[in-house]
């Protein structure tokens, strides 16, 4: 589903990734681990085409980074869900509006938007917070809204960049359980983290270690 063909993408001498060859299959759960600046986030950004390789190419389903036009990138992003350490919610909107935004951009009908948003919010355990403003929620709840926003468009892969970075251990553990459930429903999940304690929470996950822009344990 996602393939890196000898990908290099650097910002100066140190950062970025070098000569990455990697395949991630449908429905996989993958941990990208490594210290800060190792290149984990760069790999994720290459997947949702926020960055483009200087060398090689990344192919996500039928989107090829070497051929894709900028007007096609939004259509890729409708297939790729993303969550971040800082949640990136719109603070002036309520939970419903934050989640529904993903569907408005894809031109869904109002009734379907409502149905999907309620379903996904129940799925992430926020059915009782639908009309709360995102600022009124705890960190864990905000991250769940971000997950709901990513999931509501039924992505083929969910990318999580340090998703527990701002959360306490108990909430982090709950979040990993949620990501595992999402993965069991067929969505591939890629978690970039330097928090090694999360890894045992997902026994069948594939572990990819990144160090100084290179994959240490290629499989």
């Amino acid at each position: 589903m996602i393939t890196f063909f000898n990908v290099s993408c650097t910002f100066g001498k140190e950062a970025g990734v070098k000569n990455i060859n990697l395949t991630i299959n449908e429905g996989e759960f993958v941990f990208l681990t490594g210290s800060s600046g190792a290149g984990k986030s760069t790999l994720l950004r290459l997947i949702y085409m926020d960055l483009f390789p200087e060398k090689g190419k990344v192919v996500i389903r039928n989107f090829d980074s070497s051929k894709v036009r900028s007007s096609e990138i939004p259509f890729l992003r409708r297939k790729v869900g993303m969550i971040f350490q800082d949640f990136r919610l719109l603070e002036d909107r309520n939970v419903y509006e934050n989640v529904a935004l993903s569907l408005y951009v894809s031109h869904y009908k109002t009734r379907e938007i409502r149905q999907r948003v309620y379903n996904v919010l129940n799925q992430v355990g926020l059915g009782h917070r639908v009309y709360y403003n995102s600022k009124e929620l705890s960190g864990g709840e905000q991250q769940r809204v971000a997950i709901a926003r990513a999931l509501v468009k039924e992505p083929v892969v969910l990318l999580a960049d340090e998703p527990t970075g701002n959360l306490d251990p108990r909430v982090s553990s709950d979040l990993m359980s949620l990501l595992t459930r999402i993965n069991q429903n067929g969505t591939a999940v890629i978690v970039a983290t330097h928090n090694y304690s999360l890894i045992p929470r997902v026994p069948n996950a594939r572990l990819i270690q990144v160090n100084e822009g290179e994959i240490v344990n290629p499989t």
């Binding site: 949702y48 992003r77 409708r78 719109l90 951009v105 926003r149």
Partner: protein, 288 residues
């Protein structure tokens, strides 16, 4: 339809959320339009005044002395055939003498014992022919008639009038273009501030797969609304100014500015356009 409604709603919401930055954009647009509006009225009326002066321009044709009346009649007919001529007035020697007395207060016969004033024609040209080229051409054609002694017109005056009218026209058009462009740039810069304060909305929209047009639309609606509100403020200020000061203006200068509904319509259209173009220019940077 749902998407369109969503985008319109977002546009109105954006205006509401933009707070001081939005208000600043509206004020900038309003001030620019007030300048453009007053400038337009002043320039338009100046051009009308110049055109009025031009309409009073005429050519005098002096006839040889002692011309037979048949020849005069024939010449009058010939003048009537010149399509550029709008009006022909014949001034006989007696009428010329009477006019002399009226103007100078003395009888020409008391001074000279005879009337030296020749018969003449005063002609005025149709509006399209009231320019130097046409006047010279008509004068040359008239001069060819044997009964014509001299053709006189105020050539220097016409040259000056044409020069200044062209100058005023160029100045007005240039000022209009420059002011409009400045307004677009100013509006765009202040709209850029509003967009900058909401750049997280743009990046989130990009993340969830919004196309550039989808992201652009609410900001364009917001910009157009800001332009529209700015134009309404400008229209009210200009309208009230003319309403309260026209009487004073007329009593001191004899001039009264008349502003039509079409002018206000144009102002509102221009304001909306400035807002729209300004927002399009501003959002471009954030979508690169």
């Amino acid at each position: 339809m749902i998407v369109l409604w969503f985008l319109i709603k977002e546009g109105f919401r954006g205006l509401w959320r933009s707070n001081y930055a939005g208000a600043f954009s509206i004020i900038i647009i309003a001030l620019s339009l007030i300048l453009i509006g007053f400038g337009y009225v002043a320039a338009r009326d100046t051009l009308v005044m110049v055109e009025n002066i031009r309409s009073q321009f005429d050519i005098t044709i002096f006839i040889q002395p002692k011309v037979a009346s048949a020849e005069l009649e024939n010449f009058t007919k010939e003048l009537g055939n010149i399509r550029e001529i709008e009006r022909i007035i014949y001034v006989s020697t007696d009428s010329a003498a009477a006019q002399f007395k009226l103007e100078f207060g003395e009888d020409i016969f008391d001074i000279l014992d005879y009337n030296p004033l020749p018969p003449s024609f005063t002609i005025s040209l149709k509006p399209p022919a009231r320019n130097l080229i046409s006047v010279e051409e008509v004068a040359a054609r008239i001069k060819k008639f044997s009964i014509v002694d001299e053709v006189k017109y105020r050539k220097t005056f016409l040259q000056l009038l044409e020069k200044y009218q062209r100058l005023i026209f160029v100045a007005v058009v240039s000022a209009f273009i420059v002011l409009t462009l400045i307004s677009i740039v100013l509006a765009s810069n202040s709209i850029k501030m509003t967009i900058f304060s909401r750049r997280n909305v743009i990046s989130t929209m990009k993340l969830v797969g919004a196309t550039n047009n989808f992201i652009r639309a609410p900001f364009m609606i917001e910009g157009t609304l800001e332009g529209l509100i700015g134009a309404l403020i400008a229209a009210i200020v200009i309208g009230l100014t003319f309403y309260f000061f026209n009487n004073y203006l007329q009593s001191f200068t004899g001039y009264r500015a008349i502003v039509s509904y079409r002018f206000y319509g144009g102002l509102i259209g221009l304001g909306s356009l400035i807002g729209l173009l300004g927002s399009m220019r501003a959002i471009r940077r954030f979508l690169e």
